[in-house]
């Protein structure tokens, strides 16, 4: 009888410890972040930092290899951007996905960036045809929204891509969520499920400190 009780107690302790370990590992797990790289440049007296991301039609790695994603330099899905306060982020996005079109055409407009413009493969643009958008990089609370031109089937390169560059000002410390406004979550309700609702894929956070 005593042996049975001891065995039961030991089993409960093991199960409890396992649950505690699972919860702890879940809570302390942090996704890969993209940290802005400092430069010697300045815009309007503010220091410029560089951030580079890549957008692809399929992440190819991680728990959802078939989802559209923003990737960091290591090729991992990542939408956590760390940047210093009161700076200008020079964003470079290597856009490698094809167009699926905007639901709200207004997001074809570039706004909130320095000069309200972007450069696509070196060409300055203020808007794109909304049907040619593959994704957007939009930070609602900062008023920043940049449409990302989709690659075409006849586009050259390996892989074919559109290099989108723009600058935007970052205010004081805070957490600013950002997302894509092209409903690119294929196969989900209104295209807004899956990667559109998952941090690390088409929704992210800009951590300013």
């Amino acid at each position: 009888m005593r042996l049975r009780v001891a065995f039961l107690g030991l089993a409960l302790i093991i199960v409890g410890a396992g649950i505690a370990l699972f919860v702890t590992l879940y809570l302390i797990k942090t996704p890969p972040a993209v940290t802005a790289a400092t430069t010697n440049n300045s815009v309007e007296g503010l220091p410029v930092v560089n951030v580079t991301l890549t957008t692809v039609g399929a992440a190819g790695t991680g728990p959802h290899p078939n989802w559209v994603a923003y990737l960091n330099d290591n090729g991992d899905p990542s939408t956590y951007i760390h940047a210093p306060a009161n700076s200008v982020i020079h964003m470079t996005i290597n856009q490698q996905d094809s167009a699926s079109g905007l639901r709200n055409e207004y997001f074809g407009l570039v706004r909130g960036t320095v000069d309200n413009s972007m450069k696509v493969n070196g060409k300055t643009m203020q808007a794109i045809d909304p049907t040619t958008a593959a994704h957007t990089f939009t930070i609602p609370d900062l008023g920043v929204s940049v449409p990302l031109l989709g690659v075409t089937s006849d586009q050259q390169g390996n892989p074919p891509q559109n290099v989108v560059e723009f600058d935007f000002k970052v205010p004081g410390p805070g957490l600013y969520r950002w997302q894509c406004f092209v409903p690119c979550g294929a196969g989900t309700l209104y295209g807004n499920g899956g990667p559109m609702q998952t941090l690390g894929y088409m929704a992210g956070e800009l951590v300013v400190s």
Partner: protein, 272 residues
């Protein structure tokens, strides 16, 4: 009735009267939500104030009755048996109860009906100026509200800006799931339903910066679907802003769809 009991009733009644009057005076002067930024908000605030002033004396009376009962009809620890009086066949109490309840319920019903009837009439504020309603379309999508101004060429904005001198006619719709446009300070809450046009009129009364948020659970970023920079501005400031916005929107104007009360995005825009 024993003199002691009558004295106690008088004390409680007096306390009730003082607390009820003090509470109603306070409620009459407190800045209750949603405020007076628009005619609708002012009307809602007035309704809340009146109902609160009606409810407060009743609440105090219930508490006073409870205290009275607990004190007078309490059972002594050494009492052998419970012998509280049974109230039966007291026509005076029954009449007062039925008459009071009926008066309160009918009063609230009449008051509500009159308020609703008044809210459906054209606002009487600022009638001195030509008050053609300014149509503003609210377009909801996961997870952002944008706004179109058909009388200014149909430009679109990421922030709501409206003039204080004109009646506003909101037309609320959605491009994906159901949202709810909640302009709290204006007293406006309207569901944004795909392929439906939900309209609501209001007359701004106070300039200022206000918050707008979605009040319908609409997905993971529902909690972030808000804007703290909605503005009610003077007519001059609004015209200046509209001109600036038209210039900013110029590059996208040729791509915006013709203004419509509802939109049905192309199947290709559904990501499936």
């Amino acid at each position: 009735m024993p003199p002691r009991r009558r004295t106690l009733i008088n004390i409680i009644a007096g306390t009730w009267a003082v607390l009820a009057a003090a509470g109603d005076i306070a409620l009459n002067s407190l800045p209750l939500p949603p405020g007076s930024a628009t005619d609708i908000a002012g009307s809602e605030t007035q309704v809340i104030r009146i109902l609160a002033m009606m409810a407060w004396p009743i609440f105090v009376a219930v508490v006073a009755g409870l205290v009275f009962t607990l004190y007078v009809d309490r059972v002594a620890p050494d009492a052998r048996e419970f012998d509280a009086q049974t109230l039966r066949g007291n026509s005076r109490v029954q009449t007062m109860w039925i008459a009071g309840s009926t008066t309160i319920v009918l009063g609230v019903a009449i008051f509500g009906t009159i308020t609703l009837a008044n809210d459906t009439t054209v606002p009487t504020v600022a009638q001195a100026v030509p008050n053609t309603p300014l149509e503003v379309q609210v377009i909801a999508q996961q997870w952002y509200f944008t706004y179109r101004y058909p009388s200014f060429g149909g430009f679109e904005s990421a922030h709501l800006v409206i003039p204080s001198d004109r009646e506003i006619e909101f037309h609320v719709t959605s491009l994906d799931v159901t949202h709810s446009f909640w302009f709290f300070a204006a007293g406006v809450k309207a569901d944004a339903v795909p392929e439906h046009d939900n309209s609501v009129d209001m007359q701004p009364l106070k300039t200022g910066t206000y918050r707008i948020e979605c009040s319908e659970l609409c997905g993971i970023w529902h909690g972030s679907m808000s804007d703290d920079n909605a503005q009610i501005v003077s007519a001059g400031d609004f015209n200046t802003w509209a001109q600036q916005q038209q210039q900013l929107d110029a590059p996208i104007m040729k791509f915006l769809p013709p203004y419509s009360h509802t939109y049905v995005p192309a199947p290709g825009a559904y990501g499936s």
